[in-house]
């Protein structure tokens, strides 16, 4: 989930026993500001691009917007529903669908042809969201020591703290994609005044369950991690529960709203809710 700067880990020497940093990289999560210029010489969208021997990327847009994200979700949903022979795995990122297939089973030419035909079936940018999406209500403590950069982020957005809390709490944000750490959602998009730059210097560590903001998006951290985004609230929600019946709780397209609670309430939730939900509940997206 890293955009240009930042990304790959500063990895330790392999002669030490494996990576020593246990958390994800300090790399700043993330996508580009919306509505950047399309790449020079870019193809018309949607288009296909091969990735190595076993991958094809179905790309709906060079920039993030609701229609392209929805198109990617809908197209992947179609692939998962139809489960084509030879397709081994599909995944969405912000505005594209990755298809991993077995070239011994289906040739590149046939796979591309089948994907082109599927793209031509309809206008994917006007496709509805796939069924089965969940709306999660997640208790969160905004500001104070649980969200030490709320005031700073609010000021950058031209709001006072309470107005920022009110605005964010009133809003449903969608899981645009998952990444950077397992199950970790990128949520958006927020209104334009939340197009905040990342910090010049990384915050050394935010805890698991931290809610951070930048570039019109929120990220809910799966693990304690360094970040260039501003830490505005804290939840007890665990995105990744590898030992549980549901290791990955959130799916792309799900929606989240953050319900402001007091630090005491969050402490009580932590004490009584061991499920990883952190007091969160979910219903089908209305």
């Amino acid at each position: 989930m890293n955009d240009i700067p930042g990304a790959p880990h500063p990895p330790p020497d392999p002669s030490s026993s494996g990576p020593s940093s246990s958390g994800p990289s300090p790399a700043d999560p993330h996508p580009d500001p919306p509505h950047a210029a399309p790449p020079p010489g870019s193809l018309a969208y949607p288009h296909l691009r091969a990735i190595g021997l076993t991958g094809v990327l179905v790309d709906f847009s060079a920039t993030l917007d609701e229609a392209s994200n929805r198109a990617a979700l809908a197209f992947r949903h179609m692939l998962e529903t139809e489960s084509w022979p030879g397709v081994e795995e599909t995944a969405t990122s912000l505005t594209s669908v990755f298809v991993r297939f077995d070239p011994a089973h289906v040739s590149h030419a046939r796979m591309k042809q089948a994907l082109q035909q599927a793209l031509a079936r309809r206008d994917w940018y006007s496709a509805p969201f796939p069924a089965g999406r969940r709306l999660w209500s997640v208790p969160a403590v905004f500001g104070g020591e649980h969200g030490p950069q709320l005031a700073e982020a609010a000021a950058l957005a031209g709001l006072d703290e309470q107005a920022a809390i009110d605005e964010l709490a009133a809003r449903r944000t969608r899981v645009l994609t998952l990444g950077f750490a397992p199950g970790q959602p990128y949520l958006g998009e927020l209104p334009r005044h939340w197009d905040l730059p990342r910090q010049d210097t990384l915050t050394a560590r935010v805890p698991a369950g931290a809610l951070v903001v930048a570039i019109r998006q929120l990220v809910l951290f799966s693990f304690a991690s360094p970040t260039g985004w501003r830490h505005i609230a804290q939840t007890a929600f665990r995105n990744f529960r590898p030992q549980g019946d549901t290791p990955f709780v959130l799916h792309p397209g799900d929606e989240l709203r953050f319900v402001p609670v007091s630090p005491e309430t969050l402490a009580n939730i932590r004490a009584r809710d061991q499920s990883g939900n952190g007091g969160a509940t979910s219903v089908p997206v209305p």
């Binding site: 989930m1 240009i4 392999p14 994800p24 091969a50 795995e89 990444g179 590898p242 792309p252």
Partner: protein, 338 residues
């Protein structure tokens, strides 16, 4: 060191990369030597070896980056399978070349699988680096007592070399001149590297796509060669992140990825685009590779020290009582891994 198998495919959509052995070929070689399932867990050692005690009689195989191996002080051949007895101690020294060495055990390492795999995935917080004193449970050995095999010709992927690539997501944006230079330059493996990927350096201008293009984060896979902010390649390995926004100039074909993983700091690598047809012809599934390697096993000629009755054996010319390498003298033009 940590436990690795073939990894956990199928979770990219949730932000979890497949992971698994950094040198998948070495994992498969060990399974072939022990004639056991290709999906079993083995111990992956990055550069440094260790000392291991066995609580039961069993079998081991040693593959990947060659290390000096001693069983109760007696040298063991690399790329071979051996019997071990309860109470014996195996000592593995640092990698003599390459990076990732593998200790395979009869029956495989039977730690509890998580999400269908025993692979440690450090970035995802799955599994852990083993500490001194750790005990590893083993599965039931399918072929107890079947030892004494070696692999006759092991691909020497431990010193860099030529790596075949196919196009990746942004290959077309680099332009013909840069693609040409990418294939003519010799890259050097930098210090920076781990199971997520390795940084390479080279002389000359940075590689960059036109107009400092910013690319929206999109799916990426092991083998992808990203050109990072400094315009130097970072080659992704099995534990890479699932998405990223650096332009990718090429993707290493699966069969050559072990050459990158096993390139120690300072090793030299070159890249060459090949046709899809050639890449497909070179591609083998783990199962196919396993079957081919298993057929290619040859009996390990034993060290004369081990042979109780020397007269019962016909000694190969050149082996002397002083030989301190178990397989010395039995190679036929094969490179000595040590």
């Amino acid at each position: 060191m940590c436990v690795q198998d073939l990894g956990r495919p199928g979770f990219m959509a949730f932000g979890l990369s497949q992971g698994g052995a950094a040198d998948r070929l070495a994992l498969i070689e060990g399974a072939a030597l022990l004639d056991q399932d290709v999906g079993l867990g083995a111990l992956e050692m990055a550069g440094a070896g260790g000392t291991f005690a066995f609580s039961h009689d069993g079998r081991i195989a040693l593959t990947g980056a060659p290390m000096r191996a001693l069983l109760d002080g007696r040298p063991l051949a690399w790329n071979a399978s051996h019997g071990v007895g309860a109470g014996q101690r195996l000592e593995l020294g640092g990698a003599l070349k390459g990076v990732f060495a593998y200790l395979h055990l009869g029956g495989g390492i039977a730690t509890p699988p998580v999400l269908g795999s025993r692979s440690c995935h450090l970035v995802a917080g799955l599994g852990e680096v083993l500490a001194a004193g750790a005990e590893l449970p083993l599965g039931e050995d399918p072929k107890p007592g079947e030892t004494g095999w070696r692999l006759q010709s092991v691909a020497d992927r431990f010193s860099g070399g030529l790596v075949r690539v196919l196009p990746s997501a942004q290959t077309g944006l680099f332009g013909a001149a840069q693609i040409e230079r990418f294939q003519s330059v010799t890259f050097t493996r930098a210090q920076r590297g781990n199971r997520q990927g390795v940084q390479l350096t080279c002389d000359g201008a940075p590689f960059a796509v036109a107009g400092q293009l910013r690319i929206l984060s999109e799916s990426m896979v092991p083998g992808d060669i990203q050109m990072t902010g400094e315009g130097r390649p970072f080659v992704l390995l099995p534990e890479c992140q699932t998405t990223g926004g650096y332009p990718r100039i090429a993707n290493v074909i699966p069969g050559d990825l072990p050459i990158v993983a096993q390139a120690a700091p300072g090793a030299r690598l070159r890249f060459r685009f090949v046709s899809l047809e050639r890449a497909l012809a070179a591609d083998q599934s783990p199962r196919q590779l396993w079957a081919r390697l298993r057929r290619a096993r040859v009996p390990l000629v034993r060290d004369p020290h081990d042979i109780a009755d020397l007269l019962a054996y016909q000694l190969i010319s050149g082996v002397t009582a002083g030989a301190d390498h178990a397989d010395e003298g039995c190679s036929e033009g094969e490179e000595d891994e040590r």
